[in-house]
Amino acid sequence: MSILHTVNKSPFERNSLESCLKFANKDDPVLLFEDGVYAVLKGTSAEKQLEAALAEQSIYVLGPDLAARGFSEDRIIDGIEVVDYAGFVELAANNDKVQAWL
C-alpha cells in the first residue's frame, strides 16, 4: 500500500516536513506545495534533509506554487520533479491514500 504525503509548510517555519519524512515509508511519494515549496530550493539548510529523502522516495513540488513565490525551476534541487495540479491529482489517484501533514 502506498501513501501520498502532502506538506504545505515551509521547513523554516514548522517541522511538518521533518515529521513527514520520519513517518513515511520508503518509496512513498511526498508532494511539497503552498509554503512547502521553500524546502526544494538549492543551497538552504533544508537541502541535506531533501537529498537524504530523495534516496528513499520520490519528491514532487507543485509548479504553480513555486512560480507564485517567484522561484524558477532552475533553483530547485536535482531529482525533484515539478508537477502541475493535474499531476497532483494523478499522484493522489495513483497512490492508495493521501496524508496531509497539516
Partner: protein
C-alpha cells in the same frame, strides 16, 4: 475515481481554499468524480453568499458555486414515489457554521436569527457527511493550515 475534498480554512486568509479549488477542478477535468466537498472549521466561511471581493480579485465563493454547477457536484435521491431530489454536495459543517454565523433558513428559525447568508449552491449539514464522504470516496484529500 471518486474524490472527497475537505477544506479547513476560510477564503482570502489561507491558500487552502485556492489549492482545494484548483485540485478539484483538475480532478473534474480529468473525468474523476467529486463525491462531496466538505467545509469544516473556518472553511465554512467559503459558503457565504454575501462576500463581495474587489472586482480585480477572484471571487472564491462564486468560483466554488460555478464549479459545482458546471460539473454537477451534487447528488440525486429518489423517494418511494420516484420523485427525484437534487442536492448540492458543497457541504458546510453545521456546528462550525453556527459558531461563525453561517446560517440557512432552518438554522435561522431554530436559533431565532433574522437573516440567512448561506450561498444557494451550498448546504449546511452534520459531520456525519464527512464520515460518509470518507467511506464512499476512493480518496479523501484534506486542505488546511
Amino acid at each position: 475515481m471518486k474524490f472527497a475534498i475537505q477544506i479547513n480554512e476560510g477564503p482570502y486568509q489561507h491558500q487552502a481554499s485556492d489549492s482545494a479549488y484548483f485540485f478539484t477542478k483538475a480532478a473534474l477535468e480529468q473525468g474523476h468524480e467529486v463525491f462531496r466537498v466538505f467545509f469544516y472549521h473556518d472553511g465554512v466561511n467559503n459558503g457565504t453568499r454575501l462576500t463581495t471581493p474587489p472586482q480585480d480579485d477572484r471571487n472564491i465563493v462564486e468560483r466554488w458555486a460555478e464549479l459545482a454547477d458546471q460539473y454537477k457536484i451534487q447528488s440525486v435521491t429518489k423517494d418511494e414515489n420516484g420523485n427525484e431530489t437534487v442536492q448540492t454536495e458543497l457541504v458546510v459543517c453545521v456546528a462550525a457554521a453556527q459558531r461563525r454565523g453561517i446560517v440557512d433558513e432552518g438554522e435561522a428559525k431554530r436559533n431565532g436569527k433574522d437573516a440567512t447568508n448561506i450561498h444557494p449552491k451550498f448546504r449546511i449539514s452534520g459531520l456525519g457527511q464527512l464520515v460518509e464522504a470518507a467511506i464512499q470516496a476512493d480518496r479523501l484529500v484534506v486542505f488546511g493550515d
